[in-house]
Amino acid sequence: MDTFVQQLINGLTIGSIYALIALGYTMVYGILRLINFAHGDIYMVGAFAGFFIAHGLGFAAEPSLVGFAITLLGSMLVAALIGMAIERFAYRPVRKYARMTTLITAIGVSLLLENLGVVIFGGAPRSFPQLLQNQNYTLFGNAAISKSQILIFSVSIALMLLLQWIIYRTKVGTAMRAVSFNLNSAKLMGINTNLIIAFTFALGSALAAAGGVLTAQYNPQIYPLMGIITGLKAFVAAVLGGIGNIPGAVLGGLLIGAAETFVVGYGQSVGIPSTYRDAVAFSILILVLLFRPAGLLGSTVQEKV
């Protein structure tokens, strides 16, 4: 029981990071029908932005909640700006061509960010500073939750609720949903659709950056290629939940995180080595594509003629 609870806590911790990143994939897909392969790398950019903010402003030396909050918000802002720049200069010019063109552009942007990261930051991992004193709290038996895990949960949940509020309760959110359903109709409402698309990239990128900074509080190694595997898993999470579906991305993220941790925790006893943890997400992807291609919460809205 202790182990199960412990694995569940660990799984949901990683899962909420996947969920934050998956939201960006799903929002961009919802609005442009584009799999933004560079999104995982924005998570990396966010982590590095946080690294430099924390060091630059001296939060690395002196852990504090204020320092953590400023680092988090600062990295979200940097990532939002970079996300908008990518949309403006890489995707918008090719948006009018076949969808495959944009997809290949996305792969190109992803490679660019990764290799630019290696050139600028070097390939060796860096250690992200601990921004809050870490501490473990025993729940019962041997199950424990660390302060950084609590932080990951609470910040992720707060950000997801904020996103939910933006999308379903504000005018710009309603416009995002309108644009995602029918771009031309949205234009006819007087909506500046380019602005809404840029805003969507900003939101998604900010969430990915938050994921980057939060992960770094839990697992402090950051490196330019860190976004590849995490990004792919978050993408699988978005597909599992139903790509384009916001609650689906959160659900998919938590499920992938839990599944992965359980394989590490229990796999050995049924003959699955823990090194298969990365294979879990992709096995799930294959199963989803075979049996429920629309994802768990995905559905197709019937259009009346």
Binding site: T174, A178, A186, K304
Partner: protein, 234 residues
């Protein structure tokens, strides 16, 4: 109010409009009739900036508007209920109407306009919290028209508002068109239902394979033997 001068539009190598010239005056209901593929929808999409003409220009209130992005035209008082209604199926009826008022800032005016849309189409009020995707075709058409009016347009473009609707609903829609006209909004109406369109308009243009082949007062065209044979099924 609106003038099209020698407008030509291509889809790749295919010519959809071949030098059409037409005008709509303040307070008129002008209809554009023609068969499938004649270029009616292309004309409206060109006026609203969703397509750009290869040649020619579009003038609105004496200013050239060809090349302006669609959202700027809405700000200038042009609104369109698009082909196939184009309602946001994933949004509620009320949210659809709110999107129609996207550029409006005055909350009180928006509330008034929404009431006006509900008065015009009481069915929409009953269903205001429902997703637009759950509405019937006729209700979706009412929503598309109500939504197009939310921006208080001076020029309203209607693309096939009666397409695929039951006769009773078609009647309601044309009733609404009369109502909108009586309140001073200029209307450019694209229709396959030539009969109803000619009865509810002042002037008409007939479009065939991207060219205007006839134009005149709607009454005269309705009496023209060629129109009767080709479009009125007599």
């Amino acid at each position: 109010m609106l003038t099209l001068e020698n407008i030509s539009v291509n889809y790749g190598a295919i010519e959809a409009l071949n030098g059409i010239t037409m005008h709509v005056e303040q307070g008129e209901v002008v209809t554009l009739i023609g068969a499938n593929g004649a270029g009616k929808t292309t004309t409206l999409r060109t006026i609203t900036g969703l397509l750009s003409p290869r040649a020619g220009r579009v003038l609105y209130e004496d200013e050239e508007i060809s090349g302006l992005p669609t959202h700027k035209l809405v700000a200038r008082g042009i609104s369109m209920s698009p082909e196939g209604r184009g309602v946001f199926a994933n949004l509620t009826v009320r949210e659809n109407l709110q999107m129609g008022a996207y550029l409006k800032k005055n909350k009180r005016e928006i509330a008034e306009d929404m009431e006006r849309a509900y008065t015009m189409f009481p069915r929409l009020k009953e269903r205001q919290s429902q997703k637009a995707g759950t509405l019937s075709g006729g209700e979706q058409q009412m929503l598309a028209m109500g939504r197009a009016l939310m921006s208080r347009p001076r020029l309203l473009l209607l693309d096939e508002p009666s397409l695929g609707l039951a006769p009773l609903v078609v009647h309601t829609i044309f009733q609404a068109i009369e109502d909108i006209r009586s309140k001073g909004t200029t209307i450019l109406l694209v229709e396959q239902n030539a009969n109803a369109a000619l009865r509810h308009s002042n002037r008409a243009y007939v479009l065939e394979t991207g060219q205007i082949v006839m134009e005149g007062a709607s009454q005269d065209l309705a009496a023209d033997p060629r129109i009767k044979e080709a479009y009125l099924g007599e």
